[in-house]
């Protein structure tokens, strides 16, 4: 390791270590960056190998749509790559990465509520005879209700029931206090109850 975790607040220290490896044709800085990059790349690939699928699934649980989830995951890995020096404890890399992922998912959800999202697929289907009373199943109702939760509530619900994380684990991944996580979960469930009970569109007719 050349710069390692201490790079964060002290480049000079890195350069001292790097100086032992100085070779022809490269400046110290260039050499340091090259070696640093290789090492970081190897660690990054180990992370992506292990975490890509779970990350994608978690993102799907949080943001819903596949394309959005892909974007969130990609954003998260790009952020992770760029923010690698902020990983202070390699043993906690998964929580560190999950936190970045949760953040990118949250940003996705937020930007979805303030900007429009243009969907690429509008598929036309020929209406099937008899399809008009296709049962709206529990899943759809729950999905609609989840979609109506606000970003922060949706986030904790997905982490709790998809990720099966404990309150403390959710707190570590969201940067919230455990008490806040608990109360958000409580409120989210209450809101879901209300949404599921309310079968109308919410219009005061």
């Amino acid at each position: 390791m050349i710069c390692g975790r201490r790079e964060r607040f002290g480049r000079a220290r890195c350069l001292v270590i790097v100086s032992e490896r100085e070779g022809p044709g490269l400046t110290r800085g260039e050499l340091a960056e090259l070696a640093g990059q290789q090492e970081r790349a190897a660690a990054f690939r180990r992370l992506s190998e292990r975490r890509l699928d779970p990350s994608y699934r978690l993102a799907r649980a949080i943001v819903g749509e596949p394309a959005e989830a892909e974007d969130a995951v990609q954003d998260a890995f790009i952020q992770a790559w760029r923010q690698w020096p902020s990983l202070r404890d390699p043993d906690r890399i998964e929580a560190w990465f999950d936190r970045i992922l949760v953040n990118t998912c949250r940003n996705r959800l937020r930007s979805r509520s303030r900007a429009r999202i243009v969907d690429i697929s509008v598929s036309l289907e020929i209406a099937q005879v008899g399809d008009q009373y296709a049962a709206a199943n529990d899943r759809d109702q729950l999905g609609i209700a989840l979609g109506r939760l606000d970003v922060d509530h949706r986030l904790v619900v997905a982490l709790r029931y998809y990720g099966d994380f404990t309150v403390d684990q959710i707190a570590a991944r969201t940067g919230l206090r455990p008490g806040t996580v608990k109360s958000r979960l409580h409120h989210a469930l209450r809101r879901l109850h209300a949404l599921l009970d309310d079968t109308g569109s919410g219009a005061p007719r």
Binding site: R45, V118, I120, V122, L142, Y161, S201
Partner: protein, 638 residues
């Protein structure tokens, strides 16, 4: 059932809901993209990295904030007024003694809707949304006037709106300019009006609606004459719609559909067995010759019937398959939209021929039962649980989603005749590959009040000589096209030239151009395309040699998790930013390109930030802000 038990059941449902996702894996394209990140994003130590030391970071943040404040002050004082969008928010101030002069918004096919108790106006693609009412009153049911210059809506005062039943709240009818200025209360004390909003007569002289009769004996149809703010009751009923071209009102009451003149005369019944649902169920055909309505029925399944204006020729438009609502005919009368109720309370949205045949389902989930055609009949606006959808029934253009909280009224601003043309320019051919994946096109001005707010698709196309063309088309059929020879991109002053074809009138164009310095307009010639007349306007941007010597640069400085991108503009003043992602199917059919749209001092830059997943595309398979930054380092924008 106890709360605890209910909670347990919900938890079980949630676990089941999320459970099936456990076997999902990330798409291979995403995996390839992620794997390429270390190669595509080399660790570079820009000056920003030196700010890792905390004191410097604090200092830099303060400096940036200062620069922003100075920049904002400069912009506020030194810039000419912006074009008509974004419009200023308005607050209803009864007794306003000196109302501001009316700003006439251009007829650009805006949409108006309500969310959170305020009226929102947005471009027809949902962009540039801004509230034109604010304050504690609950405002809803916005409807554009036929000439597009005014909006009528309902307003419930805070005390009333907070009552448990909004049906009992006292509601006022307000008309204001479409930019939110000059609100005027026409009448108050209305109880339980038609939620979707008051209806304008085609001549813009009257508004009609239903309200609960003061006697408590059902509801009555009220017509308000706008100039004099006089109201009179023309009949008993729950729903009223003006004919498309004359001040005749169709209304429904006691199972009858009647026509009546605006003054209450010539009242006569034209159909019986009409369902009364207080929903928007009666529709005039575009030519005003027929009306569609829902029947009361024997078995809980209403039919949509059509009757000629004189009460003859009654026939069903649907085949008793359970259509609950009729969204109306397209403007050419050839297509209809049907809303079929589903057990979950939402509707299946069908587009069919005018006779109800050839129904095709639009894959819209959670439709809540409101749908209407855009004025040009090219798009459908559909209300859903999650907000509004603008759908191209032909399935070509992407669906646009507009977040909104169960709007009660949705209205398209009528548009004048406009053209939609994207024609390649005759600019010289470019050298392939010289611009990599990243390119940009400055849109320093706007025709039709704002160019990009209603852009729905941009395409890079190939002109007849192989040049790269940048074309733009809008959702309401208004077309605008701008082309640039890519070799111009290398010019430090980044001039742009091209032409636009627009349905705006010369006066409207002049109004816009007055707000767009830096634009030189060349020849203007009348054009006629697709039956619409318009103008073809040639333009080029005027570059200032002084600014070329010290060009303004836009640089993407850094991103942090959870922090929006930070930009540098003109050395110091950071711009306001907004990123909107767009997706377009590439010619290779593979997936998507991704755009970054940046507001810089009110000018919107469109930058192709990266094109993802384009496996077989000649474009770079992954790029990003780094690439953008590298490119922008060598290009000046102004």
């Amino acid at each position: 059932m106890t709360d605890q038990r209910l909670e347990g059941m919900l938890e079980q449902r949630l676990s089941a809901y999320f459970a099936p996702r456990a076997d999902e894996v990330a798409p291979a394209t995403l995996r390839a993209t992620i794997d390429a990140i270390p190669d595509r994003f080399p660790i570079r130590r820009g000056w920003f990295a030196t700010l890792r030391s905390r004191p410097l970071l604090v200092f830099a943040t303060i400096a940036l904030l200062l620069a922003l404040a100075i920049g904002a002050a400069f912009l506020a004082g030194g810039r000419p007024p912006r074009p008509l969008l974004p419009l200023p928010p308005a607050v209803i101030q009864p007794g306003l003694t000196d109302p501001p002069p009316p700003q006439l918004p251009l007829r650009m096919g805006l949409i108006a809707f309500d969310t959170g108790g305020d009226i929102i106006v947005a471009g027809p693609d949902g962009s540039n949304r801004h509230a034109i009412t604010s304050g504690p009153a609950t405002d809803f049911g916005a409807q554009f006037s036929p000439d597009g210059t005014k909006i009528a809506y309902w307003s419930q005062a805070p005390g009333d709106a907070s009552q448990s039943d909004p049906k009992l709240a006292s509601t006022s009818l307000i008309v204001m300019n479409a930019d939110g200025s000059r609100p005027r209360v026409l009448t108050g004390g209305i109880v339980y009006p038609t939620w979707a909003g008051p209806r304008w007569s085609s001549d813009g002289q009257y508004l009609a609606y239903s309200e609960d009769a003061p006697s408590g004996t059902g509801s009555e149809i009220v017509v308000v004459e706008i100039d004099t703010a006089t109201r009179h009751v023309v009949g008993a009923g729950t729903e009223a719609h003006w004919a498309p071209a004359d001040p005749t009102l169709a209304y429904v009451g006691s199972g009858l559909m009647s026509l009546v003149a605006a003054d209450g005369s010539a009242d006569h019944v034209i159909a019986r067995g009409v369902s009364e649902s207080r929903r928007d169920t009666v529709r005039w055909s575009p030519d005003g010759a027929r009306l569609a309505y829902l029947t009361t029925d024997c078995c809980g399944i209403p039919d949509t019937m059509v009757v000629d204006r004189d009460g003859t020729n009654v026939h069903p438009i649907t085949d008793s398959t359970g259509t609950e609502a009729f969204g109306g005919w397209s403007s050419d009368g050839r297509q209809t939209v049907l809303l079929r109720s589903q057990p979950d309370g939402t509707s299946l949205v069908l587009v069919a021929d005018a006779d109800g045949r050839n129904a095709r389902s639009l894959s819209v989930t959670g439709a809540t039962g409101e749908a209407s055609w855009s004025p040009n009949g090219l798009r459908l606006l559909i209300g859903t649980e999650g907000g509004l959808l603008i759908v191209d029934p032909a399935g070509v253009e992407p669906t646009i989603r507009i977040a909104a909280d169960a709007p009660l009224g949705v209205s398209w601003q009528p548009v004048g005749p406009r053209t939609a043309v994207v024609t390649p320019s005759t600019a010289p051919a470019s050298t392939p590959g010289t611009r990599r994946a990243t390119s940009g096109f400055v849109v320093p001005f706007s025709f039709d009040a704002a160019l990009l707010p209603w852009v729905t698709s941009e395409r890079y196309g190939q002109g007849p000589s192989g040049e790269r063309a940048y074309g733009v088309s809008s959702v309401d059929g208004v077309g605008i096209a701008a082309y640039a020879d890519p070799s111009l991109f290398a010019d430090p002053c980044y001039p742009s030239k091209g032409f636009a074809e627009t349905g705006s009138t010369p006066a409207e164009l002049a109004a816009v151009l007055a707000h767009t310095p830096g634009l030189e307009v060349g020849a203007t010639t009348p054009v006629s395309v697709g039956g619409f007349s318009g103008l073809r306007v040639e333009f080029r941007s005027v570059t200032d040699p002084a600014s070329c010597e010290q060009p303004h640069r836009l640089r993407v400085l850094e991103t942090e998790p959870g922090v929006d991108e930070i930009y540098e503009w003109a050395g110091a003043a950071a711009s306001t930013t907004s990123d909107e992602m767009r997706r377009d199917a590439l010619p290779s059919g593979v997936i998507a390109s991704r755009w970054l749209i940046i507001d810089v001092r009110g000018t919107r830059l469109v930058l192709e930030a990266w094109s993802n997943y384009a496996v077989s595309s000649p474009k770079s398979p992954i790029g990003g802000l780094d690439e953008l930054e590298q490119t922008l380092d060598s290009i000046a924008f102004d």
